[in-house]
């Protein structure tokens, strides 16, 4: 297995991540400088992407299942594609065999959720209970698998507890939705997504500690890594919620209002993240621009519903203006660490991906919808990488690792330390001699 690990490992960032891999050349001396692009942080970011996307797509797919939506199959297919990517990531660390085991267990647990959805649809309490029992067994097996794989760096008990929460959150999101409590359903969805970032944090730090050499002795959990992960979370969630709000908008869905509220709550969290670095005023400015661009998307949906080509064009024009303004805002805020032109290009991609996802949905090309949705989701992790790099480069001291380099000196406590006593005694002796010398001099005069 060791050989497999070594061989397969080289492929990690390339095969797994949808991001453009960077050339990583962090030498040991550079470790002191906070960085969001170390090997370990890349691993964490990849797991952030795949694990959170799993929760997001699972919630959406269950919702589509409940609705009997026309795009249910394609949504489920996207969830499967995510499973393949995750299994690939696990295989790249632990070998093909482990990857296959992972894939089997992971696919099974999705199947149990499907059973739960079907049980709900058929009003079959027994089927629902069976699905929950299966999920219960799954979490034991899966936790054991991960505890063994990580050499007990992750504890089966704690993992099982975390998985239990994941299961309950997905079920809770679904049950709330079915009950028509859309606000709670979306709040649950956001919690389910957030939960996965904790899973990714634990898993990536365990893998990195298990194979330090493979990660150039870098760490997955540092203040800089936490910033990137936080932005990974909020930016990708933005794209995910925006895509669904747009679909709900054109469908005139009952949960449209709640989905837009979730998107707006995400904006508040993003603005708070910006405020924490650049102050309240910048946070408020950010929020205004960000909400504005969501408004432009809403216009686009509205125009599509009204079949109004001119209004659609206006919305796209407004988005073009937004990307210029917003890029400039970020360039100014970061003191030039981020380049407005590059940002504008990336933002245009984001706009194209979201409108593309939406247009495919309206055209009922659902395969394309979910392919583009996954791309749009993954794109945000690149955006987060760029932003967090800029922020950290601008304020390295804010993101310095809070860690001592040496153990505390807990020998003899208090000021009466014997070393100090010697110094104290020497000073006293010195003072005494000096005084004596002065007195002598005075006497001589």
């Amino acid at each position: 297995m060791n050989k497999n690990v070594r061989n397969a490992f080289l492929a990690v960032p390339l095969s797994v991540s949808l991001l453009i891999p960077t050339t990583l050349s962090v030498s040991a001396q550079d470790h002191a400088k906070p960085s969001v692009t170390t090997e370990a942080v890349e691993l964490r970011s990849t797991l952030d992407n795949l694990l959170s996307e799993h929760a997001y797509l699972a919630v959406e797919t269950m919702r589509k299942g409940a609705e009997g939506a026309a795009d249910f199959e394609q949504s489920a297919a996207a969830l499967s594609a995510n499973t393949e990517d995750l299994s690939g990531a696990i295989a790249s660390v632990y070998g093909e065999e482990a990857g296959q085991q992972f894939s089997q267990m992971w696919t099974d647990h999705i199947g149990f959720f499907v059973d739960y959805v079907n049980g709900t649809a058929n009003n079959d309490e027994e089927m629902k209970q069976m699905a929950l029992d299966e999920l219960n067994q799954y979490r034991q097996d899966f936790s054991q698998f991960l505890e063994s794989a990580t050499g007990e760096r992750l504890e089966a008990d704690a993992l099982a507890e975390g998985l239990q929460m994941h299961v309950k959150q997905l079920i809770g999101a679904f049950d709330s939705y079915v009950a028509g409590d859309y606000e709670k359903a979306y709040e649950y969805e956001r919690e389910a997504i957030k939960h996965m970032y904790g899973v990714s944090k634990g898993l990536s730090s365990a893998i990195v500690n298990q194979f330090p050499d493979k990660f150039n002795n870098t760490k997955a959990v540092t203040p800089a890594a936490d910033l990137r992960s936080n932005l990974n979370h909020l930016l990708s969630e933005h794209a995910g919620l925006a895509a669904m709000a747009m679909q709900n908008g054109i469908d005139g869905a009952e949960d449209f209002d709640a989905s837009v509220q979730a998107l707006s709550n995400n904006t508040d969290d993003l603005a708070a993240a910006i405020s924490s670095i650049y102050g309240e005023e910048a946070g408020a400015q950010f929020k205004e621009m960000w909400s504005g661009h969501i408004g432009n998307f809403v216009d686009y949906v509205k125009a599509t519903g009204a079949d109004d080509a001119e209004m659609k064009e206006e919305a796209l024009q407004a988005l073009t203006q937004y990307r210029a303004d917003f890029s400039q805002f970020l360039e100014t805020a970061t003191g030039g660490e981020l380049d407005a032109d590059v940002l504008a290009g990336n933002l245009q991609e984001h706009v194209n991906q979201l409108t593309g996802t939406f247009d495919s949905y309206v055209e009922e090309d659902y395969a394309a919808t979910y392919e583009q949705l996954r791309t749009a989701y993954a794109h945000m992790f690149g955006a987060s990488k760029a932003l967090s790099s800029g922020f950290v480069a601008q304020f390295p001291e804010k993101f310095a690792a809070d860690m001592p380099s040496e153990m505390p000196d807990t020998g003899l406590g208090g000021t009466a330390d014997s070393n100090n006593m010697w110094i104290f005694a020497s000073i006293l002796a010195l003072l005494a001699t000096t005084t004596l010398f002065i007195r002598k001099s005075e006497n001589q005069q």
Binding site: R153, Q169, G172, E191, A220, D251, K302, P408, G411, G413
Partner: protein, 214 residues
């Protein structure tokens, strides 16, 4: 900003949406021919009937943060009941130590006790004459309990899971202070031979504890 407020647009849109579609068919459905509509209707029967707005009473399940800012530490097994001082990193890179040899120091930039990660507490082993707060730390056994009380009076119980002795200058500092998915708390004091010219005690004792789950 010339742009109209987001929420204004939103409310307009809501009205538009509600006006344009009834509750059972989507806008896209309306654009299709009858045959497709029939298919869709069949599909919808297989799924759930869309329900009206309702309530789901169970509270949202999420991870609760139980961590606290430690003010007091009690270790009944070795008779410790001490106040806690907050410390950071000293200029020489060492973790700080308590001013008072009967107090315990908490490494404030690290994790809080009860949070995932490593919270680290350090105490002196001795003073010029007699014992300091962690003099008996070496006697702690697996299963012994450590109680930490926070500002608000809430307390958390940790259970000793193991202990290890590291040379002062060759301890895995990154692992001891670094992140872990466990809610771990580590207690440090000095041990080993005392060599005055080499900075005193040569080794460090680390007692590992984990939050006792309710």
């Amino acid at each position: 900003m010339k742009r109209i407020l987001f929420f204004l647009l939103l409310s307009v849109f809501l009205v538009a949406c509600n006006g344009n579609s009834d509750t059972s068919s989507s806008a896209e459905g309306q654009s299709k021919n009858e045959e497709v509509n029939q298919e869709e209707a069949d599909e919808e029967k297989k799924g759930l009937q869309k329900k009206k707005q309702g309530m789901y009473d169970d509270p949202i399940i999420k991870e609760e943060d139980v961590s606290l800012t430690p003010k007091r530490i009690q270790i009944p097994a070795i008779g410790v009941d001490a106040s806690i001082e907050n410390v950071g990193t000293l200029a020489n890179g060492q973790m700080g130590v308590p001013q008072d040899e009967q107090n315990v120091a908490w490494f404030e930039p690290g994790a809080k006790p009860g949070a995932k990660g490593s919270s680290v507490l350090a105490g002196h082993v001795g003073r010029t004459e007699g014992a300091a707060v962690f003099y008996h730390l070496q006697n702690l056994k697996k299963g012994d309990e450590v109680v930490v009380t926070g500002e608000s009076g809430d307390s958390l119980t940790f259970v000793v899971t193991g202990r290890e002795v590291f040379p002062q200058n060759n301890a895995p500092v990154e692992d001891i202070f670094g992140y872990t998915a466990r809610k771990s708390m580590k207690l440090i004091t000095c041990t080993g031979e005392y060599i005055r010219n080499s900075g005193g005690h040569q080794d460090r004792l680390v007692v590992f504890t984990e939050l006792k789950e309710a």
